[in-house]
């Protein structure tokens, strides 16, 4: 390999700056009830339901579309950066998307319903890049379209899986 080609490696292998272990602001456990009050005040009518199930567990139900606003609020005020996963649920007439977030060491679960015949919801990949694969997973298995996702392709199902068949919806039964 010529010297010329090696140049980028040298750049890459430069000694790393010393990094102190980062204690994240969100490490402090806050009172969950005061967090719920804050979010109630911010969301107003967009909030359908809020409950603190036990210490470190908050469940919020927001109007469809308000989930982005909620997540932006948590990013700005609570130091949110981690999304654990996204769950899809089949409720019958509606499908439900649950964003499992983790802010200030509290697992905050934000849910929004979408109609079954028009399952569309805005992406959050621009707010939390880590949600990329989770959105693709829900899209694959529940057929929920995340508007604005950069690459909403099949992730888990095989390539020859028929289009429009979503195995985790309740009306899909495994063949005997």
């Amino acid at each position: 390999m010529s010297e010329e080609k090696r140049a980028p490696t040298e750049q890459k292998k430069a000694p790393l700056p010393k990094i102190e272990p980062q204690e994240i602001e969100s490490q402090k456990i806050e009172n969950e009830n005061s967090m719920v009050e804050e979010i109630k005040k911010f969301l107003g009518e967009d909030l359908i339901e809020a409950k603190v199930q036990r210490p470190r567990r908050i469940y919020l139900k927001v109007k469809p579309g308000a989930h982005r606003k909620t997540i932006q609020f948590m990013k700005d005020n609570w130091g949110l950066y981690h999304i654990s996963t996204i769950s899809g649920l089949d409720l019958g007439d509606n499908l439900e998307v649950v964003f499992h977030l983790n802010a200030r060491n509290v697992a905050v679960n934000v849910r929004a319903e979408v109609p079954r015949n028009k399952p569309k919801i805005e992406t959050i990949t621009d707010l939390l890049p880590g949600s990329n694969l989770y959105e693709r997973e829900v899209h694959d298995l529940f057929g929920i379209e995340f508007k604005g996702h950069p690459n909403l392709e099949r992730l888990e199902l095989p390539e020859d899986w028929p289009k429009g068949v979503y195995p985790l919806r309740k009306d899909w039964k495994a063949p005997e």
Binding site: L16, Q22, R56, H100, L133
Partner: protein
């Protein structure tokens, strides 16, 4: 200008057992872009859980992963206990935690061996896996099984520990501590490993955070995050232990974090044995679980594991959602591979301790000349050993 080649790797791999596929865009020796594709092992367990009772689901969920099987059942049992509104007795909780830590020791030692293997240092693999047998035998003694322990159940654990077993366990922990300390010194002073690990697969802290990496991968990038400390479950709210981090951000950092965590786990096991409360090991729970929903998080050997369980009043769950730590680390590993050598792909992939792998065969496609050829895992490994023997690489210690 160097043309870009697409190199698909996977999904079959005989070394790490589980399949996945990555498409690498390479320029000469450098990887410039990575596209992941998972799902070759999608077995529909979430759907199958909906058609089985909670008790049957434990044994199905145990089989999600053969290495951190205990982590999955712990998460699921915790979730169902919370749904049903019961609390497992303290002795049950402590035993559950004890097996979880032994499971972590076994998983981290297994990984250390695999890491040695991926850089062509098979002696390390042989020695580490020999000593891993110590913890495997202890697990078999405590639970009756080597891999899928089946010790967790809803409301506690299924087996108690006898004083005789506790004595044997204490002896085994001493051996494990000695050997792990030996491997720590060995790995950190041995060029064979370090020359393939330092500065390889770099993941900067801010990138690790924004891509939501989990577990040792995140901690090796200098971020102090551990579900055991941040969201205590089982007996971790009272157990003393340290969260291990490293500021190296590379494969070497991930080695340090895992080896030091193994030592922490040995100490946690000792503490749990000394402070084991007396009493029952299990509370009974009704077959029908009232409607509820629960998010259960734990720190599996590979990182944060999360289960979401919704019950509907019957004896079967309405929905079980599982997110295993490897999926959380996929985006991070793609970032680590960018800018690295083709020869470093095996070790960087192995460094997140993936529950699948993919370097079995490589199909080289020369899109310009319409030629293609295939490399097996062995070819790739031979190539990487040769590549590093030939080149005295700049910037490496």
């Amino acid at each position: 200008m160097v043309s870009t080649f697409k190199v698909p790797i996977g999904p079959q791999h005989p070394a790490l057992k589980e399949p996945s596929n990555f498409t690498f865009d390479v320029e000469g020796e450098y990887v410039v872009n990575v596209t992941p594709r998972v799902g070759y092992n999608h077995r529909g367990i979430e759907k199958a859980c909906e058609n089985r009772t909670y008790l049957q689901d434990i044994y199905l969920i145990e089989r999600i992963c053969g290495i951190c099987s205990h982590a999955h059942t712990t998460t699921f049992c915790q979730a169902v206990e919370e749904c049903g509104g019961i609390q497992a007795p303290p002795r049950g909780i402590y035993l559950r935690t004890l097996v979880a830590e032994l499971n972590r020791i076994h998983s981290h030692l297994l990984w250390l061996g695999v890491a040695g293997h991926e850089v062509g240092w098979d002696t390390l693999l042989m020695y580490v896996w020999r000593d891993r047998e110590v913890v495997m035998e202890i697990l078999e003694m405590l639970t009756g099984n080597r891999v899928n322990y089946a010790i967790n159940t809803i409301g506690g654990v299924r087996r108690d520990i006898t004083p005789e077993q506790a004595r044997k366990l204490t002896k085994a922990l001493n051996i494990l501590e000695d050997r792990t300390k030996h491997y720590r010194n060995l790995c950190l002073g041995e060029k064979t490993l370090l020359s393939r690990a330092i500065g390889v697969g770099v993941l900067k802290p801010n990138v690790a955070r924004s891509l939501c990496a989990v577990g040792p991968t995140l901690r090796a990038s200098g971020i102090k995050s551990d579900v055991r400390r941040d969201d205590p479950y089982a007996a971790y709210d009272v157990t003393p232990f340290e969260v291990i981090t490293s500021d190296m951000c590379d494969v070497a950092g991930r080695v340090v974090v895992r080896v030091d965590e193994t030592l922490q786990s040995v100490n946690i096991c000792r503490w749990l044995l000394e402070n084991l409360p007396s009493g029952d090991i299990r509370t009974k729970l009704t077959r029908r679980i009232p409607p509820n929903e629960v998010v259960s998080r734990i720190e599996a050997p590979r990182g944060e594991l999360i289960h979401f369980v919704r019950s509907n009043g019957t004896d079967k769950p309405d929905r079980v959602k599982v997110r295993a730590p490897t999926l959380g680390n996929i985006l991070a590993v793609c970032e680590m591979l960018k800018g690295g050598y083709i020869a470093d792909i095996p070790i960087v992939l192995a460094a997140i301790d993936p529950c699948f792998s993919c370097t079995d065969r490589m199909l080289f496609v020369d899109s310009k000349n319409d030629k293609n050829w295939i490399w097996s895992n062995e070819d790739l490994k031979r190539y990487s050993t040769k590549f590093y023997a030939k080149e005295s690489l700049p910037g490496r210690r």
